[in-house]
């Protein structure tokens, strides 16, 4: 027997079925395929349920373990149930079948067997489990009609049995409506078909029943998702293959015709942006007269690779809606991110930078771009530092100011680096003169003068070329002594004494003496 599926007016023929997904083919076009996913799920318990009694029109029974239906005059009872299907059933699903099951465990006063009980679709979907009463749907706002607002359009009915057990309503149409237009949340109201007369009260377990949770209300749904309709062109091994799909949209003359979507086959991983896809969607709205102006929406998402800088991407979404007058002007917003590569200057092509300065109307307004200047020490000589601007030195009011310092790792005489320095001694002697005070206990002392600083550097070298180089500055020429700490001053080299012997590591100690000179 050939199994078929009626979808979009076409009776598709089943090709394969693995229990969850199915593949159908077009009845006349051998290349056209329709794949579906056909799962089932039982929702239990209800997301919310309660019952309402006309005898206690302002009482809420949401915390009770039962649901009731009663036809007694003056003491009518209706029950409400809600099932949230959003976690399981996707939008666009087509419901094959759905059944609402409640466990009937007791009748009160009169046996309701043979009576017709209806499951209607609630139209006021804002009702709450702990707020709904006979008069109000959320404890605050009134039902349009006491006892609940519902429609009988797609109601489902059962005839109450003579024994206790599961009572099942077939609610396929109502669940389909919930999927299509109620946010995938199904709302039901149970009531007796003929209200009035003697009491016939049926009791069912609610979602608060804890003794046997399997007897709580449940909703079984069998649905399928028409995942893809596509064209399958297999190589026949001879000549070229061809296939076609009819994209025509018939103008019904009223309202909006069905959207037409075309996209390459892809799988949504559910996380992030999938591989670059191109999709198009065309909506044709029938204005009821003349030719229509189609609206085309297109999007080209780019994928972040997660490594390095991705080529500047421009995401744009172009929407053009015909306002009925003249041509439309679509707008495109774009941004160009520039990633820091970590090396060199990253191009900022086409981007102008500026520092806005607000005129305070008094004096010169400051411009303070924040920046830092890093100078790497090459280890040889002076480094060249160029600052485009002015260098401000703040006088701290003490000692000498150091606008800049050269900080070599070793002392230097001009560009000559003193090797393997062990110690640096800088003496700044003063010459004092004592003048005795007749009869006094202390002399009168005066600083005659300061000859200038004397520096003695001790170190070692295991290279004769270095020793020779250290001999050279002792030539009476004024030079600059650079201290590793950043200090520097003019000196004359007054002595250089290398040791005559070497130690066990073939090193020669030396002492270099310089005197400060202007």
């Amino acid at each position: 027997m050939v199994k078929t599926l009626l979808y979009n007016g076409i009776k598709w023929i089943l090709v394969s079925d693995d229990g969850l997904s199915q593949l159908y083919r077009h009845p006349t076009d051998p290349h056209r395929r329709l794949s579906t996913i056909d799962p089932t799920y039982t929702f239990q318990p209800a997301t919310a349920d309660t019952y309402m009694a006309s005898a206690g029109p302002n009482n809420n029974y949401g915390s009770g373990a039962l649901l009731t239906v009663d036809c007694l005059t003056g003491s009518l009872m209706h029950s409400l149930l809600k099932f949230d299907l959003t976690a399981q059933i996707p939008a666009g699903a087509i419901i094959n079948s759905a059944t609402l099951s409640l466990y009937y465990y007791l009748y009160f006063t009169g046996d309701p067997k043979g009576r017709t009980y209806w499951a209607y679709r609630v139209t006021q979907t804002a009702w709450t489990e702990y707020g709904a009463t006979w008069n109000k749907y959320d404890g605050t706002n009134d039902w349009t009609a006491p006892g609940g607002d519902y429609t009988t359009t797609d109601g489902a009915s059962v005839v109450m049995p003579s024994s206790y057990g599961w009572v099942v309503w077939t609610v396929t149409a109502q669940v389909q409506t919930a999927i299509d237009s109620v946010g995938r949340i199904a709302h039901f109201l149970l009531r007796d078909d003929t209200e009035g007369g003697a009491q016939k009260q049926a009791r069912f377990y609610s979602d608060q029943y804890v003794t046997d949770t399997t007897k709580r209300p449940k909703l079984y749904v069998d649905w399928f998702v028409p995942a893809d309709e596509y064209i399958d062109v297999s190589d026949s091994g001879a000549g070229s293959e061809s296939a076609s799909i009819d994209l025509s949209v018939a103008d019904s003359g009223v309202g909006t015709e069905s959207d037409l979507s075309i996209s390459p086959l892809g799988t949504d991983a559910g996380v992030g942006v999938e591989a670059v896809t191109t999709s198009a969607k065309m909506t044709v709205t029938d204005a009821g007269a003349g030719a229509e102006s189609p609206t085309v929406e297109a999007s080209i998402p780019s994928m972040e690779s997660g490594v390095g800088a991705d080529a500047p991407n421009i995401e744009n979404q172009l929407t053009e809606t015909d306002n009925g007058i003249g041509s439309e002007s679509p707008g495109i917003s774009a941004s160009i991110p520039v990633a820091e590569t970590g090396a060199g200057v990253d191009a900022l092509e086409g981007i102008a930078t500026s520092i806005p300065v607000t005129d305070s109307a008094v004096g010169v307004d400051a411009v303070s771009p924040s920046s830092s200047l890093t100078v790497a020490d090459s280890g040889l000589g002076l480094e060249n530092v160029t600052t485009p601007g002015t260098l401000t030195v703040t006088d701290e009011g003490k000692g000498a100011e150091f606008a800049w310092r050269i900080k070599p790792t070793s002392p230097m005489i001009d560009a000559l680096v003193l090797p393997h320095v062990l110690s640096i001694r800088i003496s700044d002697p003063a010459t004092m003169s004592d003048k005795k005070v007749q009869g006094g206990s202390l002399p009168r002392r005066k600083m005659v003068g300061k000859p200038g600083r004397v520096v003695e550097v001790d170190g070692w070298s295991d290279r004769q070329t270095e020793i020779n180089a250290l001999e050279a500055p002792r030539d009476g020429v004024r030079r600059t002594f650079y201290h590793p700490s950043g200090d520097s001053f003019g000196v004359l080299v007054t002595g250089f004494e290398p040791s005559r012997t070497v130690d066990q590591y073939n090193r020669r100690l030396y002492r270099l003496a310089v005197a400060e000179a202007n």
Binding site: G399, L422, I426, D428, L442, P443, R444, R445, M447, S485
Partner: protein
Amino acid sequence: MVTFGGYRLQHVSAIQTVGSRIIHDRLVPSAKSFSYRSDETAGGRVITVSGQIRDDPDHVLKLEEIRVRADDTARPLDLEDGSSTINVKLGSVEAVWTVEEGVDRPSYSVTFYETS
């Protein structure tokens, strides 16, 4: 803490004080074996304070702050060892950097001359 004219010397590790008197020698041209000597007056004390510049990356500036005070001006020196404050002039300043102590921890030594 040792202060000189209100300036605090960092991390002082040693204070050496040398007192002297001024003795006048007059050689006697004869067979006498030693001269004629007379005590003329007391000499002022010479105080040497040694320490270390620590925990300050700008140790050169700290040494410079000491050096600029060797300006032939008498200032009170308070050794804070219980002795009285005395007037001194700052004379010699010496600083030593060694590999053992670390190039950022120079030792220093300053000499003060007591004056009236």
